[in-house]
């Protein structure tokens, strides 16, 4: 046997040090260590506390609107079957969307924010900070801060402030202060640096509400656990609606919170093929992409070891994606581990392909997907025509695309 033995389960990580194999960990300044240890302790208590679970369940149902629907995308399925026939293949799997876009605030981000705001409350914190790329997490953070009466500061790259202006306005309406970050390319990486600087300065009273399944332990674990409701629901809904598990599940990966949320409950279903879609930007040949797992290498940034886009001197590159939510040169550590273990495939999708999927979904389904989610749909468009008609694919529709209409109009050369 030349192949390394597969683990008995892919769902047991991280270990006590917060590691998924060589990935993850706690690479933070000493000032933050006591806080991170305290957060871990509080999280371990909370996740087994029936009262905490009941409160989160109640908010998920009545405030966020869960469970989200598992929707048979008949229009897209029909379209892709026509594509398949035109190629003489005569196939085309059934496509389902997990409708996280229907959640309150318009994306999966609310799942994590509700969980973490309850933790912040338990820990007696007085102030919330968050980083945001597309603004989806910023909006969800500002929303729960408003709901629970906390002041909230959201760090957002200046480039993203410009390309996601509707979300910036929403955050301001919700009472949050949006602080544009001009360092670097003014995207998610720079926003995260600035949020960490705020946190290290205001450790006493501030809770850092990280939006993605990355950062120092325990964040990757707790964000995953709060987002795993996506996959748990999808798995049960699929069993109920089709009487079996899907053949393939697909989600977009920036930092990777919606993807790990969908994937995690399926990791030990060995017959389910799992695909994460990275931002291929303008192609992997140059530096204008964010496909850290397809074209990067392991390194240490933002508190964890994970795949990163970096140069030979260990300096982090800025990357590029049409989608602000995927415009990040790293990825959550559990994805890095799932990549290396071979359980999950990670593939790039180009800006143009995502744009095409965005337009097609809007036309044939009457659903405007977020540009992030459009990356996952774009990959489904590639593989579904080659699959059999009795096969089933779930695509995570992680968010709605109203926020992206300005970006798309610009790409299409239109004025709005």
């Amino acid at each position: 046997m030349n192949k390394p033995a597969m683990p008995n389960s892919f769902r047991t990580g991280p270990d006590e040090q917060g590691m998924f194999g060589i990935f993850g960990g706690r690479f933070v300044a000493e000032t933050l260590m006591p806080l991170i240890l305290d957060l871990e302790e509080q999280w371990n208590k909370a996740k087994n506390d029936p009262e905490f679970k009941a409160e989160l369940q109640n908010l998920s149902t009545h405030y966020a609107g869960r469970p989200s629907k598992l929707y048979f995308a008949e229009g897209l399925t029909k379209h892709l079957r026509e594509v398949s026939s035109a190629k003489g293949l005569g196939g085309g799997a059934k496509v389902y969307f997990k409708r996280e876009d229907l959640n309150h605030t318009g994306s999966h981000k609310i799942n994590n924010c509700l969980g973490q705001i309850l933790l912040a409350k338990r820990m007696g914190k007085k102030r919330i900070i968050a980083e945001t790329g597309a603004g989806q997490h910023g909006v969800a953070s500002a929303t729960v801060a408003a709901r629970f009466g906390y002041p909230c500061v959201v760090y957002m790259g200046a480039t993203d402030v410009a390309r996601q202006s509707p979300n910036v306005f929403r955050m301001k309406l919700l009472g949050a202060e949006v602080r544009p970050v001009t360092a670097g390319h003014g995207t998610l990486k720079d926003a995260m640096n600035e949020a960490l600087r705020d946190w290290v300065t205001n450790v006493e009273d501030t809770y850092y509400l990280i939006g993605t399944a990355a950062g120092p332990h325990p964040y990757p674990e707790l964000v995953r656990d709060f987002q795993s409701v996506i996959g748990s629901e999808a798995r049960a809904q699929m069993l109920e609606q089709e009487g079996r598990l899907p053949d393939t599940i697909i989600a977009a990966v920036g930092g990777g919170s919606n993807a790990i949320g969908l994937f995690h409950p399926f990791l030990d279903d060995n017959d389910v093929r799992i695909i994460g879609v990275e931002a291929g930007g303008r192609g992997l040949d140059g530096v204008e992409h964010c496909a850290s797992m397809s074209a990067g290498s392991p390194g240490v940034l933002h508190g964890n070891r994970t795949y990163l886009l970096q140069n030979g001197d260990g300096q982090i590159l800025d990357g590029h994606s049409i989608s602000a939510g995927l415009d990040y040169p790293g990825v959550g550590p559990e994805h890095s581990w799932l990549r290396d273990s071979g359980r999950v495939e990670y593939v790039p999708i180009l800006d143009d392909e995502a744009l095409e999927a965005f337009q097609l979904t809007t036309r044939v389904e009457g659903i405007i997907p977020a540009l992030e989610s459009a990356h996952a749909i774009a990959h489904a468009m590639k593989i579904v025509p080659k699959m059999d008609k009795d096969q089933i694919v779930i695509v995570n529709l992680s968010g709605r695309g109203d926020k992206d209409v300005h970006t798309v109009a610009k790409m299409l050369g239109m004025e709005i």
């Binding site: 960990g25 300044a29 240490v300 970096q310």
Partner: protein, 279 residues
């Protein structure tokens, strides 16, 4: 095994005065200028040199050191060049301790074993790596100690008595007390609190305790130096470089001279402080 840091600290203790520890950014604004700054430091009164390794994402640094790091990277600085700079300095000075300070990723990418061998050969005496807390000691701290390179840990106001032993366990050379929670270059903390914190740390260790974050003037250096074994100055030095650079990065005066003038003043402040133990 004693290092240059141990020897220098012992000597200063016998003289009854605290150390002046000076941080500057390697390669800012370019290699040659930066090497000239480094060479000027001992003569101006610096007892220990912290040589900054630039990183694209310095999460614990304020605007001044962020900007210095970006200038250095733009000027072509790499970890290879930073080690070369240490060697070049060492050729003319075998006494002044050099501590490399920065973030882990460039070292990780360089390769830990190769890095330690090359750092040692370049005359590096110690390391301060901001994003490696004791929980990650296996990464670099333990290998560094085995290689005979001091690993200097940061203690902060959030490091309570329960946690201090863990922080001090594998620390050597000296303890760097960060006098406040926050990023580099913020305002100076309450000096009475700093003195109490130094006393608290000394209750746990025989190592010298140096204090940094927020020290900008000779007077502040004197006050901090009264209670600590050393005073660390960083942002003020980095600013002295920035102040003689024009809008396009052109030099409007000699950066090495500007730094030397500042450090001379700070050295006077430090030297007028008496160690509490020596009084």
């Amino acid at each position: 095994m004693t290092t240059r840091i141990d020897r220098r600290m012992a000597k200063l203790k016998s003289e009854g005065r605290p150390a002046l520890v000076t941080y500057f950014m390697g390669g800012d604004p370019d290699y040659d200028t930066s090497l000239a700054i480094m060479k000027a430091l001992p003569g101006a009164g610096s007892d220990i040199i912290e040589l900054g390794m630039p990183f694209s994402d310095p999460m614990a640094d304020g605007p001044a050191i962020q900007a210095a790091g970006l200038r250095a990277l733009k000027g072509g600085q790499t970890l290879v060049k930073t080690l070369k700079m240490a060697s070049a300095f060492r050729a003319g000075d075998d006494e002044t301790p050099i501590v490399l300070m920065g973030y882990y990723n460039p070292i990780y990418i360089y390769g830990v074993d190769r890095f330690l061998a090359d750092a040692k050969a370049s005359g590096i005496d110690g390391l301060i790596v901001v994003d490696l807390p004791p929980e990650m000691d296996e990464e670099l701290c333990i290998p560094a100690l085995k290689a005979g390179v001091n690993f200097i840990r940061l203690a902060t106001p959030t490091t309570d008595d329960k946690r201090l032993p863990k922080v001090l366990e594998n620390t050597s050379g000296f303890v760097y007390y960060v006098s406040m929670t926050g990023i580099t270059g913020s305002a100076l903390a309450d000096t009475a609190k700093v003195a109490a914190a130094v006393k608290r740390i000394k209750g746990h260790t025989a190592l010298p305790v140096c204090v940094g974050f927020g020290v900008k003037t000779a007077e502040q250096a004197r006050i901090i130096g009264a209670s600590a074994d050393g005073v660390v100055v960083g942002t003020a030095i980095v600013n002295a470089v920035a102040n003689v650079l024009g809008p396009k990065g052109e030099k409007t005066a000699d950066p090495a001279e500007a730094v030397a003038t500042l450090v001379s003043g700070l050295a006077q402040g430090v030297r007028s402080a008496r160690l509490a133990a020596a009084e």
